[in-house]
């Protein structure tokens, strides 16, 4: 074999710039192609998320292209878990016929499309569902950041800010862990900030892997983050350390909020959070003194993305705390990013489908949810009630990851048509009537991606190798061909290249240049720090009091609210989070990544030694985890790094699809224990409103 090694050593290596699909950050990557095969990846040096580096997922997930467990041909369901291969033409025809019949009988409001969006999907998926006459386009945000998005959007007019970490002097993370849910450049900026002497505080019921960078870990009682932020806001006012000029010029409703904050003393918060009043006062004071180069990082899922009944209010309180520090659009503060100016297809030549007049399902019930992402689990609820008849799932696994799997399975069984477009046999695919095999991200070109941030830019995902399985197709082709079968090919009468050329037109960059570089940034368009932009809230200012919340039947100002459920002395709250080597359930079946889980027993639940001792549990013991919804068996990692009130379970395991041979049976899926639910304000999944009991079992 060493002769082959030597021979391959002389082979010319082709390098192709593209973007990663290991998580939603879509870092810039360079694929190194040897003999027509993907050999390895390196981080794209110009891409703002990778900056020349890649995480373990970025390297390892690319091996998916050569997985033996990919979907290789269109499949039709012929019984529970049973499928037979059919031709693309037959699949298109049957899906189109069913869609048209369902819409004819029920109207277009009963069909939906859900995805974890990537560049091509962002353009094609909403267009496709709109061509069917339906507004029902959803994303995975319902179990990611719906609460934060709603809280931020109605306060600052954007669903998220970015944090100018590298220049900040005082950084607080609430549940967010740069070291576990990785963007390489974010970790690097944190390392830079630390080197420059920034103070870093982690608020989390568990000491996460960003702990090495933290000056201080506040082991908060899970579900009480809102109390901490309210009390810190109280201190800013008491100590007169808030930015009065900023409040005067750029906000509304501050007086009302300040009055409400009088209730929320550090002593009050100490009882709820378990963090001493002195610590709360000290940290708030120090942050006030460091302003505007001080911030609470905005998170994604973190502690208030979708976890608790009070999470949207936590999102609002965090945005407002940052506003009180006057850090919006300041160096070392919270940045409202700029977007690239990209072109669009000529509407005369390429007509767009009409925007549906119907309201997106879920908006009536959750008017505060950010409409573009929607409340994806409403698809299941409406299906259960007979109001949703068809669902298309692209690059999404809601049957396992969005809501309680038992509930989802039952709800999906009531739909007349489920189509899943994916690369592997997910739990959602298993419940579908038709499965259409996508190519992997290593085998396709995509639409141009707009990168927004402090400096905007564009990135392109490109095909690196010839497709491995001849009967797989890229998503843009699937949509265009299915559109033809449905009878609206006029809305997809362009090629992907034509779309990309049209998007590029205003930038002065040629398609060839972009293909060569992969990522191009626009430094001339960098946001001007120190200059407050006009906000997209109704008042065009920071809203300490929100009419939108009032209209929706909620308090216009943030108030403390308890989480929905709380553990007792003999039970735990089940909390979840990411590990650096996986993303949701999509990466679990990657042997090179799952081997790390196996080598280091990473699927174990974490338990505090005090609780473990009470229950007679030792490190490595097998236990039973029981909730109102399910019973699971798993081994325990006994560690001082976790709050006694909680057990922590990594969020990537519990694959049940037998087709995913590497991942099936490893660990358990936390979602099995989460009651199907909607947070009242944003519709998010309330995924940490779960109480479990744990007992030792033999094994």
């Amino acid at each position: 074999s060493s002769k082959y090694v030597k021979a391959s050593g002389k082979t010319e290596i082709k390098e192709i710039a593209s973007t990663c699909n290991g998580c939603s950050s879509k870092c810039g990557i360079i694929g190194h192609i040897k003999n027509g095969r993907l050999w390895k990846l390196t981080g794209h040096p110009d891409h703002p998320s990778s900056k020349g580096k890649l995480c373990a997922r970025g390297h390892g997930y690319a091996t998916l292209v050569y997985s033996k467990e990919r979907l290789t041909q269109p499949l039709k369901r012929v019984g529970e878990g049973k499928f037979e291969p059919i031709s693309w033409d037959q699949a298109y025809k049957e899906i189109a016929d069913k869609l048209n019949t369902i819409i004819k009988e029920n109207g277009p409001g009963v069909v939906s499309l859900t995805e974890d969006p990537r560049a091509t999907g962002k353009f094609y998926s909403p267009r496709f569902i709109q061509a069917l006459g339906s507004p029902n386009y959803y994303t995975h945000h319902v179990v990611c950041s719906n609460s934060r998005d709603a809280g931020f959007f109605h306060t600052l007019g954007v669903t998220a800010t970015s944090a100018d970490i590298g220049s900040s002097k005082y950084i607080m993370f609430i549940g967010r862990s740069y070291g576990d849910a990785i963007r390489p450049s974010s970790v690097q900026s944190l390392a830079d900030a630390k080197e420059k002497g920034a103070k870093i505080v982690i608020v989390d019921p568990r000491l996460n892997n960003t702990g090495n960078f933290a000056n201080e870990w506040l082991a908060i009682r899970p579900g009480t983050d809102l109390a901490l932020v309210l009390a810190m806001s109280h201190v800013l006012i008491k100590q007169n350390l808030y930015d009065t000029e900023f409040i005067k010029n750029y906000s509304i409703g501050f007086e009302e909020y300040a009055k409400e904050l009088e209730n929320y003393t550090p002593e009050w918060a100490e009882k709820l959070t378990g963090i001493s009043a002195d610590t709360i006062t000290r940290i708030a004071t120090d942050m006030g003194k460091a302003k505007p180069k001080a911030l609470i990082e905005q998170s994604w899922r973190g502690a208030f993305g979708c976890n608790y009944e009070n999470s949207t209010e936590t999102g609002r309180a965090v945005a407002l705390f940052n506003a009180m520090l006057g850090n919006i659009q300041q160096q070392g503060g919270s940045i409202i990013g700029a977007k690239s100016h990209l072109g669009a297809l000529d509407p005369a030549k390429y007509p767009s489908p009409k925007k549906p007049e119907l309201k997106k399902a879920g908006q009536e019930e959750f008017p505060l949810a950010y409409e573009e992402q929607g409340v994806a689990t409403i698809v299941a609820k409406n299906a259960m009630e007979g109001k949703m008849k068809a669902a298309i799932f692209h690059h999404a696994n809601p049957a396992l990851g969005y809501g309680n799997p038992k509930y989802m399975k039952k709800a999906f069984s009531k739909m007349d048509l489920i189509v899943t477009i994916d690369v592997q046999m997910s739990e959602t695919a298993l419940l579908s009537h038709y499965i259409l095999p996508d190519v992997t991200y290593i085998e396709r070109d995509e639409a141009i991606e707009s990168l927004s941030g402090k400096t905007p830019g564009i990135a392109l995902r490109q095909q690196m190798v010839e497709k491995v399985h001849p009967e797989t197709k890229p998503i843009h082709q699937i949509y265009s061909e299915l559109a033809k079968a449905c009878g609206f090919s006029q809305y997809f009468n362009f090629s992907l290249d034509e779309l990309n050329e049209a998007m590029l037109a205003p930038t002065g960059i040629t398609y060839q240049q972009l293909r060569q570089k992969g990522t191009i940034m626009f430094p001339d368009m960098t946001v001007e720090l120190g200059k407050m932009p006009e906000l997209k809230t109704p008042s065009k200012k920071v809203e300490f009091s929100s009419e939108k919340f009032k209209e929706a039947g909620f308090s216009p100002i943030v108030k403390w609210g308890e989480p929905k459920v709380s553990p007792k002395e003999d039970s735990f709250r089940l909390i979840t989070g990411k590990q650096a080597i996986h993303s949701h359930s999509q990466t679990a079946n990657t042997p090179i990544l799952m081997q790390i889980t196996k080598d280091y027993d990473l699927e174990r639940i974490w338990m505090n030694p005090v609780r473990a001792k009470d229950l007679g549990i030792k490190d490595g013991d097998l236990v039973e985890v029981k909730s109102s919804e399910a019973v699971s068996k798993v081994r325990v990692k006994v560690t001082e790094r976790i709050h006694p009130e909680a057990i922590f379970v990594p969020s990537h395991y519990g694959i049940t699809s037998p087709y995913q041979k590497t991942a099936v049976g490893v660990g358990f899926g936390y979602m099995e224990h989460v009651p199907f639910d909607f947070e009242a304000r944003s519709g998010a999944g309330n995924i940490q409103e779960v109480i479990v009991k744990v007992r030792k079992v033999k094994g």
Binding site: S1, S2, V5, G9, W39, K40, L41, T42, G43, G52, K53, L54, C55, A56, G58, H59, G60, Y178, G179, D180, I182, P184, V187, Q188, L190, A191, L207, N209, T210, G211, N212, F213, W217, L218, A219, A580, I581, P591, I592, L593, Q595, I596, D599, Y600, N608, P609, V610, T639, E640, R641, I642, H643, P644
Partner: protein, 178 residues
Amino acid sequence: MARYGMMIDTRKCVGCYACRVSCQMQNELPVEVSFIKFHEIETGVFPNVKNEIFAVQCQHCEDAPCESVCPTKATYTTEDGIVLVDPEKCIGCKYCMVACPYQARTQDHLTGVVEKCRFCVDLVAEGKQPACVSTCISTARIFGDLDDPNSEVSKAIIKYNAKPLRQDLGKTKIYYVR
């Protein structure tokens, strides 16, 4: 001639395994074979806890014990101080695995060859960084010539007072900051 070495700053390591996977890809290793292993040391009592993470690979010892015990001279040290294994000479006897104080050697079950970190000698020959270094998301790893007092790695070792993992086990070319 150089004497290549590395510094690993454990205060910056988040235990993300990027180095392990990029190394496996670079060296085209089977998924079960890894040149980098991770050790965690948790100290303190909740909520005053510290967790240190040590990424450990071949330390490229001076007078490497694995080299002196190798019956076929398959293990050798290059002029640049990199300890390597010649796969054509290795008979898979595992003597080196026993001799290694860091348990840094692993047998490739497909080829039978006992393998370990090579400091990405091919990349280094091209003037590039080893894969584990170039991908490290927090720049916890610095690589370079230990004999050059002006190299980034030499300066960092002095600045942070970096030390071998186990000073009692002989001189190595990987230094750790704690």
